[in-house]
Symmetry: C2
Subunit: 348 residues, 2 copies
């Protein structure tokens, strides 16, 4: 068993603080990783604050993990000490259901094991995440970090990146298609970069004209201000796909008329009760609303390789471990472009 410095929430009241967390001993299938960088996802904030009522303290958040292999178990074949690796949102699944058989562990019918906060055989009875110097993960849930990706800026690919990549791939985005990315935050800025790299005409859809310049810098071909009714009418029936990254409940119905017949708006941000559904634009154009959750392990590796091939990483603000609480406060005000990443070397 390893005792490792981590940053944990002790109760529903912030702040986070350093804590020595026990990690399991390295089993035959396990990879022990020295964590170098960990991105900060909005989920971390929700869980630290127990917004969803399911947090068990102490809890170490973090599921955008990049580091290097320190040690491997006897049966580990795909990883070796010193190798650059990454870990995302989950570290286990049943391995036998139809979803797992189809490499969609994120939709495991028996329920996946989250990187932090899931019941497990680990010390303390729960998995603990990446705001830490070290983690032990089964090899099937460890990803290889390709050469050429800046490790700090790559960390958010493990959640924000794959959450945008998976639906874009699933709905076959490519040249000749028009994709709208709704909302410009951690997810949205990755959505623009990825849709652009896949060859689609990429349109940033936002209520904030002030975000236009940044959206164009990130790869958007156009910016559509969703409060401009005339502009929205001009763009009706123009979109093959909409990636809706808005993280809070909102009236999504106005976006539906932007879709072509058979187009889909995929919601990846706001989970839970949302606005009232208006079926009129759906029925009148056979339009679809869908949801999507991160991506499977194989697809996450594909995404990392795609990002390496296209030189795509997240725009980040690198912080020291001691600044985590200030980062949380700024996140609550959406004051980050576009992802905080913790430099774990600063944690002692």
């Amino acid at each position: 068993m390893l005792i490792t410095p981590s940053i944990a929430a002790h109760s529903a009241t912030l702040p986070l603080a350093p804590l020595a967390i026990a990690r399991r001993a390295v089993g035959p299938q396990d990879v022990q990783i020295d964590i170098e960088f960990c991105g900060i996802c909005h989920t971390d904030l929700h869980v630290a604050k127990n917004d969803w009522g399911r947090s068990v303290y102490p809890i170490v958040p973090g599921h955008e993990i990049v580091g290097r292999v320190r040690a491997v178990g006897a049966q580990v074949t795909r990883f070796a000490p010193g190798q650059a690796v990454a870990v995302g949102c989950f570290v286990g699944s049943c391995g036998t259901c139809s979803s797992c058989a189809d490499h969609m562990e994120q939709y495991c019918l028996s329920g996946y094991t989250l990187t932090y906060g899931s019941p497990s055989a680990d010390p303390g009875g729960y998995t603990q995440g990446g705001y830490s110097k070290s983690i032990v993960v089964g090899q099937d849930f460890v990803l290889s970090l390709p050469d050429g990706l800046d490790p700090a800026s790559a960390a958010p690919l493990l959640c924000a990146g794959i959450t945008s990549y998976s639906p874009l791939r699933h709905w076959g985005i490519g040249p000749g298609m028009t994709v709208g990315v709704i909302g410009l935050g951690g997810l949205g800025h990755m959505g623009i970069k990825l849709a652009h790299a896949m060859g689609a005409k990429t349109v940033m859809i936002t209520t904030s004209p002030g975000k236009a310049a940044d959206a164009m810098r990130l790869g958007a071909n156009e910016v559509l201000i969703s409060t401009d009714e005339e502009a929205m009418l001009v763009m009706a029936n123009q979109f093959d796909f909409l990636l809706n990254t808005i993280p809070v409940p909102h009236d999504f119905n106005a976006y539906m008329s932007l879709l072509k017949v058979d187009g889909t708006m995929c919601i990846v941000g706001a989970i839970g009760p949302n606005a009232q559904l208006n079926t009129r634009p759906m029925i009148l154009g056979r339009r679809n609303i869908a949801g999507s959750l991160v991506g499977g392990i194989r697809e996450t590796q594909e995404m990392l390789n795609f990002c390496a091939a296209h030189g795509i990483v997240s725009d980040i603000e690198l912080i020291k471990a001691a600044d985590i609480n200030q980062a949380y406060e700024r996140m609550q005000k959406n004051d980050v472009k576009y992802r905080f990443v913790i430099d774990m070397a600063s944690l002692v």
Copy 2:
């Protein structure tokens, strides 16, 4: 110009009454049809009562039309006098947009011409529907009624039938799949017959245990009572497709967990504002909600041929023209199994 006896609503206050309605002269591309039977759709009731605020009186409802060709224009090649034909929900579209080019006139980007109530060059300035002895329709919007279909029972295929058939076909329903049909009315009873005939395991989903026997008679393999929470849990993740035919706003979220990963619930009944959308089951299983509107002309002909090949018609209650107001009253109480059809020979 033809003056023909019809049944029209004169104002927002029912009842309907006989009226002489002018039809346009038979142009070179036109087919004049002696109407034998016309089904009664809930839309007729909404329009007669001006529920949607767009009705212009007098108005002759009816878009489930079956009859025989009386005369054809000089350039009509596909129809001849005496031929059994049918007309559905629309009688015109732009013919040039991407939807029309794809044989999806129901999604015409310039707006189709409805069989009744649409502005047109017809006498009176609006199209008038099938509660009438006669109608004149351009040949591109006339369907051939295959041999072997009882004409009265076939009339509802033109709306209730195609509205169920089109989404089942679009989402590729066939053997090895499990389809749930939600709601047992005019649409739902056709959905069961069609999904069954396409080879899918067909499950009737209803709040009413009293509808189980009839559902099984119509072709359902099973009945799922949606208020039975335990039964709903047992059937979670079991359905490839749900055809939601409930005609009024309702909480549709509970059905979503019945879908497999990547499954779709298609709403064909309730158009307009509906319940609050809960994205949780959509995100956690990449599940979809879609809408669908009747079907294109080519697909409607395909549906009629499919029904003839499989011996499928609607369960109907044939009424005389004089009984129309009583039928409307019973429809408002859902007291019909499953579609009223007017015998136009009774209209004088």
